[in-house]
Amino acid sequence: MFGGSTTPIPLSPEDRTRANMVYNHWGQSIDSYEQSLQVSAFSSKFDAFLKGDYKLTADEMAGLKLFDGKGNCNSCHLDGRGTTLESGQTDTGAAAAVTPLFTCFGSANEGLPLNPRDAIYYQTTPDSFGFTGNPLGFGYRDLGLGTFLRSGPGAAPNPNSTWTQFAPTTDGQMQVSSARNVAMTPPQCPTTEAPGPYFQKEFFHNGYIKSLKQLVHFYNTRDKFKFNVTSGHCPAGTTEKVNCWPMPEVPNNIDMTSGNLGLTDKEEDQIVAFLQTLTDGYTRPYPNRDTFTGTCMTGGSAKTQGNEFLIPTPKLPPCASAVCGVQPVPRPAIP
């Protein structure tokens, strides 16, 4: 990009310093805003529960126990609880952290299928500014942290070259998001889940998953319903996202903490109920949620939510050398 120049706009040393200061202040402003109560409100039902000001419903409590236990979600979505929840136990322990962030700040490849609905695959020609977003088309693969470490296409130069060697062991890994506010919606659409009225969100790094029910079902059955197909090509007699999960975009380094959890349909629903307690705005208003002027969606089932918009993934060319040919290359090679 910019012909390899990292300072494509010539500036005097004084103006360069001035420009850098502006960006520094910009970053500091964002950081302060994100830390403020406007964003990090900790005003959810779960926060109230931690303070003893809210009693989780039976399903929400069951979901918390599954989140910590059979679902193993809190192996990385850290909830700060100090107890080990086994079958028959209830959570009576004190919280280890009063404002748990529900992330371990790690990275993981959960094995999401390539989403052919993502615009990047079609940005193969110059836009009005002459910028071509993705000249590789469907030859592009999102190797996540691996691309960052090996300074691959679209990534800033890795600031620590001693970490470059770890690219092959981090290919496909994406930063683990907080589970907080995963169910947040605009006020007029009270849920993310069909039949709603619901607000359509996109989950995981490429938006392949369309509801929390699907999200939990993916963690639960990814390896049980694994099929060697791409999205839009599940075999006859199966339903994508219900009993057919297409192959992962990046088959390397797939996290195996989950993928075949043995959760029942009801247990999946209970985890969803728990996730819905993590939305800020319960104990006091949370005004900064996005405004939305459209109409809510209705109908259907959270299990197949969005499936009407599935399109067949075209026959994929091999991973482009601009992505998979950068040293140290992925091991094993990515098709």
Binding site: S40, P159, D223, N253
Partner: protein, 139 residues
């Protein structure tokens, strides 16, 4: 632009460190190591396809880094397990056991494979829980 974004990321990171909050310290706690680390269930075949298999086993907690790798050494000759598959998992400090699951690709149909399992910390340090040699046959 990339450099500018990198600088922004660095600034935000530095600011986060400067203005540290309790939240900033929330990283995965270390799991306590069992007195004697051993496999308490398996290894066994969770799934076997013509070209793919998942092997799973359960250990009492090996402790150490939150990130671990399940390791399977395998081959078609029980005396020559010269191939290795490994999959990352994350320990849960609240659990008294850890389920390891490893994906093996590139297998041949209707072929018997022999294998042993082990696990390591993220840095490759072994948990020393090697199993006996077992086998499975792809369909």
């Amino acid at each position: 632009m990339n450099k500018l974004l990198l600088k922004l990321a660095m600034v935000v990171t530095v600011c986060s460190l400067l203005y540290s909050t309790p939240a900033a310290t929330q990283v995965s706690p270390t799991t306590n190591k069992a007195a004697r680390v051993r496999i308490i269930q398996g290894p066994e075949i969770e799934r076997a396809d013509p070209d793919f298999a998942i092997i799973r086993w359960t250990s009492n907690n090996p402790g150490g880094s939150p990130e671990h790798y399940g390791i399977v050494r395998y081959g078609t000759d029980p005396t020559k397990l010269n191939q290795t598959a490994k999959s990352p998992i994350r320990l849960n400090p609240g659990h008294s056991y850890t389920v390891f699951r490893v994906r093996i690709g590139g297998l041949k149909p209707r072929t018997t494979y022999y294998y042993t399992v082990d696990s390591t910390e993220a840095n490759g340090k072994g948990d020393e829980v090697k199993s006996a040699v077992k086998h499975f046959t792809t369909p």
